[in-house]
């Protein structure tokens, strides 16, 4: 089966066996009902055991699953009247980021998200969801527009990272990312950011300075990919699994580090198993966030964002230093 993940193989094998037995019961004149029931109980236990004890690396695999729902998969399930808009009005239209306006339960909102492809052709067009500066500048243009018209902004984060390329550097990849962080800090409207897949470093953060930051249970958010970390730390990219454990990149990790607000529970086995059901879970969280944030004034929203990011980071005070001062 396409996209079968290593860690869930025992579940899938057991499921296959149950299906086989059912087939036999139907065709031959043997009653295997007892056997099947036993196996189904075992399956339930096994699913629980596997899906509730997922290791970071398992989650990385789910976050990278080729069928994992993307921004454009969720948009029609969460919003109505969506109209996509294009271009940074300067250089180009970056298909690695989609942006537009629509309604969330009747409320006008602006929607922005990374967008990777589902097949090779689309992935080439969308540069595997890795934006160039014009992508970030398009996003900023649309955020400013939302700001002008007082529309809440909902960002979906799903990228391996900003594209590391020659043209991207020439056009100011760093400036484009930095500008977004800076300008997002001053937006007078609610900004809700949701990591739906991979949150790859600065390229993810450039859509991520919000009032609320949520993560899907099996998404990741990190300063560098596990492969990249492994090759820097141990000069060995094959130690990615080990790096994934060490680096604290899963939603539960980030929750513990106080970086994110909510973990959005995923469908058993990952969002790709049922995107409609997954969208419902996302819907609930957006609704909750909007209800909370729309009560704040423009200045309160800016302050809340300030405090949120100010509070991230851990440090200690050296006692001697305090006493001598």
């Amino acid at each position: 089966m396409v996209g079968e993940l290593e860690f869930e193989k025992p579940v899938l094998e057991l499921r296959k066996k149950i299906a086989e037995l059912k087939e036999i019961t139907k065709e031959a004149d043997v009653d295997l009902t007892d056997e099947i029931e036993k196996l189904e109980v075992r399956l339930e236990r096994l699913e629980k055991e596997i899906y509730e004890n997922m290791k970071p690396w398992d989650r990385v695999q789910i976050a990278r699953h080729p069928n994992r729902p993307t921004t454009l998969d969720y948009i029609p399930l969460l919003f109505t009247d969506f109209i996509e808009v294009h271009g940074d009005r300067t250089f180009g239209d970056d298909a690695a980021i989609v942006a537009g306006i629509g309604k969330f339960q009747g409320l006008p909102v602006t929607i922005i998200g990374h967008q990777r492809g589902k097949d090779t052709k689309e992935n080439i067009r969308r540069n595997f969801g890795m934006p160039h500066p014009e992508g970030y500048r398009k996003a900023l243009r649309i955020m400013k527009q939302a700001d002008k018209f007082g529309r809440p902004i909902i960002c979906f984060i799903d990228t391996k990272g900003a594209f590391p390329g020659k043209a991207a550097e020439e056009r100011g990849q760093s400036e484009a990312i930095a500008r977004n962080l800076f300008e997002m800090a001053g937006l007078k409207v609610p900004v809700i950011c949701i990591v739906i897949g991979e949150g790859g470093s600065g390229g993810a953060l450039a859509l991520g300075v919000g009032n609320h930051l949520h993560m899907l249970e099996n998404s990741t958010y990190s300063v560098i990919s596990p492969e990249g970390a492994a090759s820097i730390l141990w000069k060995d990219a094959s130690k990615a699994k080990q790096a994934a454990e060490k680096m604290k990149i899963t939603a539960p990790d980030l929750k513990e580090l106080n970086v994110i607000d909510e973990i959005i529970p995923e469908v058993k086995g990952g969002a790709h198993k049922d995107k409609d059901l997954q969208a419902q879970a996302i819907h609930e969280v957006i609704l909750k966030s909007l209800k909370e944030l729309l009560k704040l004034s423009e200045q309160e929203l800016i302050n809340q964002r300030y405090e949120k990011y100010k509070a991230i980071g851990q440090f200690d005070l050296q006692n001697e230093y305090i006493t001598t001062n």
Binding site: D81, I83, E84, V85, H86, G87, D88, R89, T90, F91, G92, D93, I101, G102, K103, Q105, G106, L107, P108, E134, K138, Q145, K148, F149, G150, K291, L294, K295
Partner: protein, 292 residues
């Protein structure tokens, strides 16, 4: 050469400004031959299809009357400032005669029609440029009428929608014509700062000073398929850089790819799309939404 603009829209070799020769984009008569694909169709059917070729999707230029009829709700249009007419500030030879001729030919007083109307029940201030009058060029009157329409939108707190079609500045009015770019832009800035919604829909052709002012200043910049949009003319660019330009250079589709447009919208979908945007921009929904 200018005729090529309409007879061979794919090539647009020297297509910068439509001229007298191009005044009749749809020949009179029962049948019409598509200038793009050369297929013949009934003129009546073509008009019913919003002047879009059934075979190749070629969008014929629309005059202001056709545009208003197809875009606004029936009988909702109220024209303003029709009485504004051009003078000849620089004493330019034959200018007034040319204006008279175009007035007669087009039944318009100038190259833009402005007023108030409704799009799917949403009230808007609207300006429609008309390339059949002096190639849609912008002189004092065009600048003034557009500015007044923007002020009207501001006064009524309704969105401002402009359909552009212009060869650029009106040479016969010299620097006064140039300054209309600044006048309209200053008005748009104030309107925008007051929270006004600006929608620009660029139609064939939108060039020169018009593309370098209000046409490009929308909160949303859209264009019709195949429309020629650009600042400098193709021939001037080719002469300057001594290079042949790609065939799709300065088309709406080219501009979309280059990040200049929000979308290219087919005429058949235009009204509905704009109505959706107007709906999304209705003011004051937040608190009502919170209560429900």
């Amino acid at each position: 050469m200018i005729k090529d603009l309409f007879t061979k829209p794919k090539k647009k070799k020297y297509a910068t400004i439509p001229s007298e020769a191009a005044k009749q984009d749809v020949p009179e008569g029962i049948m019409t031959k598509c200038p793009n694909c050369k297929k013949i169709m009934y003129s009546k059917e073509l008009t019913k299809n919003l002047k879009v070729c059934f075979h190749c999707d070629y969008h014929y230029p629309m005059n202001s009357q056709e545009r208003l009829a197809s875009f606004l709700d029936e009988d909702s249009f109220q024209e303003i400032d029709r009485e504004l007419v051009s003078t000849n500030p620089l004493g330019f030879p034959e200018y007034l005669e040319k204006l008279e001729k175009d007035k007669e030919k087009t039944n318009l007083n100038e190259a833009v029609v402005t007023g108030i109307g409704r799009v799917d029940q949403h009230e808007v201030a609207v300006a429609v440029m008309d390339s059949t009058f002096r190639m849609g060029s912008m002189g004092s009157v065009v600048g003034e009428k557009i500015t007044r329409a923007i002020e009207k939108a501001d006064e009524l707190s309704v969105p401002f929608i402009i359909f552009t079609a212009s060869g650029g500045a009106r040479m016969q009015e010299g620097v006064l014509s140039l300054m209309q770019m600044a006048k309209t832009s200053v008005a748009l800035k104030r309107f925008s700062d007051n929270g006004g919604l600006i929608i620009s829909i660029m139609t064939h052709p939108t060039t020169g000073g018009v593309s370098a002012s209000f046409a490009s200043l929308g909160d949303y910049n859209f264009a019709e398929p195949g429309a020629l949009i650009g600042f400098a003319g193709r021939r001037i660019i080719e002469q300057t850089i001594r290079e042949e330009l790609p065939e799709d250079f300065q088309t709406a589709e080219f501009l979309l790819e280059k990040g200049q447009l929000d979308a290219v919208i087919a005429r058949a979908e235009l009204k509905e799309k704009i109505a959706t945007i107007l709906d999304i921009h209705q003011p004051g929904g937040d608190l009502v939404w919170l209560e429900n």
